[in-house]
Symmetry: C2
Subunit: 413 residues, 2 copies
């Protein structure tokens, strides 16, 4: 139980809320900000001045055809090129590093493929090289305010330790610490479960904007999940929440990499779909392309491919029915390979959902594909990395720029 | 996105926080309150004065052997007999109505058994009669600040409509509205899922105090659930969240009352345990007593009873494993008949959990029985009914007593 906030807490909260507004919704006039945040114009002006002095936003005359006669309301715009984060995605088959500016603008990116049998120690070198090349190309006065990495495994929140990642072996490498040290930017690198980040991304910038209770299901080799409840990522007691891929849907079913049998991952993962479709490894293509091939074949009438999708769709539908009963989400979003599987097996998934879920929570639930396509994890990593500066904008900037902006409106104006 | 609170919001929040503190933790000195809430003594004094004037708390010299020499710090005590709620529990076999005072004191209660084939229309009459007899015995200046009813079914949050209650037919009776009208106390009666209330109760006053991520599983004829995530009851998009009883654990398994097959409820509910134990209905005893008989028989070495508990424990363990993977709870609590089943089949439940759940979320999860025994739903209903007065103490009291206490410290002192 905590007592109400102090004046300084409120100012910090308001600064963060204003910055978050233009970060997520784009440039806005002072008038819009005043109305949307429920604050008066003089408060908005003071907050904007502080954020401008800290180099987080700038105020400009409105651009484009919207200009009208009279004195125009200034538009508050995030400093996208001057304030950025580094977002890393470590997938089973690919690596991505991006420099993402305030406002969610992907300023620059480096991508690489990764062989499934490649050495874990190469991973760090590739990530560092990618990040350095991005940082070198940033503007001279730009500041990196955070970094986060999405990983297909179970990550403990207290120390970002990867506890379980059966589909991508990194040994006992402490990825976040090692990366932070090698980068030398003076910022920590958070490590997060990829599907948790996907849920965050779709909630803030994708198919789930405005829906505060949603489930994101992500297929890669494995199957991950992320849950947004009451507008927040459900982390559970230690940050392991959302391991939907290891919900047992078919007791005694197919062997799962986790040691159990009949997990959702074992029944609907990439390897299982390919096996059902008679495309056992080694195949010409791996990963998402191989899954897409099966879905395309089914579209063209290939009986084996159709049957494979039907089987996988049945278990996916059962998993979704369970989630609908337990969580009553407004939305279930399919990303990664599950996006393609959903598109190929939607009728079967909905049919199982209709018999397996209670009417009440099923009636209004919407099933959708990820709006951010292949970038769900990357966008989520960027949003996670921005969280600190959005919670306490001036303090974080002051620390990184070593400038004293701790007290109100003293930032050299 | 919402801007920070106003001064009036903060005052309301602080009043609520102080009242909530003494409501949940019992009488406390001003010194303790100042330290616990992080407020200075003069603020505590002002808040306490306002709450005293509104008749919500009183200040007293400390009682008992703890008194020491010198000027004693006054103790702030909730006005338990003057401020109360009505809590209703509608179970399949029993009805309970209680008058619960601020501080969580059960002041008085009425209980009745209910025949499973009794007429739904009798229900309302019995609840009204019980409540009236309780209200008549309240002190003359006592005020009823809320009422809530726990029901074994799926309840829509927006209008408290019971959407699904297969084990207790109430037809199209709008229980909350009807009860509120008949009572004539000028307060609405909220209707909530019983296991959701159980989760709330165990979180605030039972085995789950201090654990902000927990799952409560409740067995009656059916099986219900309630989930606390980030310290809040997980309602989902429309309030149907927590229907764990209809998670399918055994596809194609036993027929469930919901129309699906192999739901947790169908595999571990009262009827299934009795059937496995060869005690098909009609049996001498129904409900919790019949379940206890099976557990007792197993304890005495009855092979059939043991085997029945082993089968039920296997599915219960699988359900718990799924919940541990998906939520990473710190605690799973078993209540109602599941309390007895857990005690009788703990070894089997833990064994299935060990193979079915990932190591990371399993290692620290604790399994416990409900600390509030048979009163989980009733205590949860009382806490739910107190929520409004704890959120805005003076406003609610002013409305109910029609006294103007809207502005600070004007309450006739």
């Amino acid at each position: 139980m905590k007592a109400g906030p102090s004046q300084e807490d409120i100012r910090r909260h308001n600064l963060g809320t204003l910055l978050r507004f233009v970060h997520l919704r784009g440039p806005a006039s002072r008038a819009t900000l005043a109305e949307s945040l429920g604050l008066n114009r003089s408060t908005i002006m003071a907050l904007t001045s502080d954020l401008t002095a800290a180099g987080l936003v700038r105020e400009e005359l409105p651009r484009g055809p919207g200009r009208r006669a009279g004195r125009p309301s200034l538009v508050v715009r995030p400093e996208s090129t001057r304030v950025y984060v580094l977002a890393f995605e470590v997938g089973v088959d690919r690596l991505v590093v991006a420099r993402v500016g305030l406002g969610g603008v992907v300023l620059d990116r480096r991508e690489g493929t990764r062989a499934r049998d490649s050495d874990p120690s190469d991973l760090l070198g590739m990530l560092v090289a990618g990040a350095r090349s991005l940082v070198r190309k940033a503007e001279r006065d730009a500041v990196c305010v955070g970094a986060a990495l999405g990983f297909p495994g179970t990550v403990r929140r207290s120390d970002d330790m990867i506890m379980f990642g059966p589909n991508l072996d990194v040994g006992d490498l402490r990825l976040g610490d090692a990366l932070s040290r090698r980068l030398g930017l003076g910022i920590p690198v958070s490590v997060c479960n990829d599907a948790n980040l996907g849920a965050l991304a779709e909630h803030e910038r994708g198919a789930g904007v405005g829906c505060d209770n949603l489930i994101y299901l992500h297929g890669d080799v494995g199957v991950g999940g992320g849950i947004i409840a009451h507008g927040r990522l459900l982390g559970g007691d230690e940050g392991f929440g959302g391991e939907i891929g290891h919900m047992i849907v078919n007791p005694g079913g197919r062997q799962c990499a986790c040691g159990s049998k009949g997990c959702l991952e074992a029944e609907v993962g990439e390897r299982t779909l390919l096996a059902h479709a008679g495309r056992e490894e080694p195949v010409d293509k791996a990963g998402r392309d191989a899954v897409r091939d099966v879905v395309d074949a089914a579209d063209r009438g290939d009986i084996v491919a159709r049957e494979a999708l039907h089987r996988v769709g049945t278990w996916l539908g059962l998993g979704v029915a369970n989630l609908v009963n337990v969580f009553n989400p407004g939305l279930v979003i399919f990303g990664g390979t599950l996006r393609d599987i959903y598109l190929g097996a939607a009728a079967q998934i909905r049919s199982v959902l209709a018999t397996g879920a209670l009417d009440a929570p099923r009636e209004k639930v919407r099933l959708r594909t990820a709006a951010l396509g292949d970038d769900t994890t990357l966008v989520g990593a960027a949003e996670f990395a921005f969280a600190e500066v959005l919670a306490d904008p001036l303090q974080v900037l002051a620390r990184l720029r070593s400038v004293d902006v701790a007290s109100p409106s003293t930032s050299g104006r």
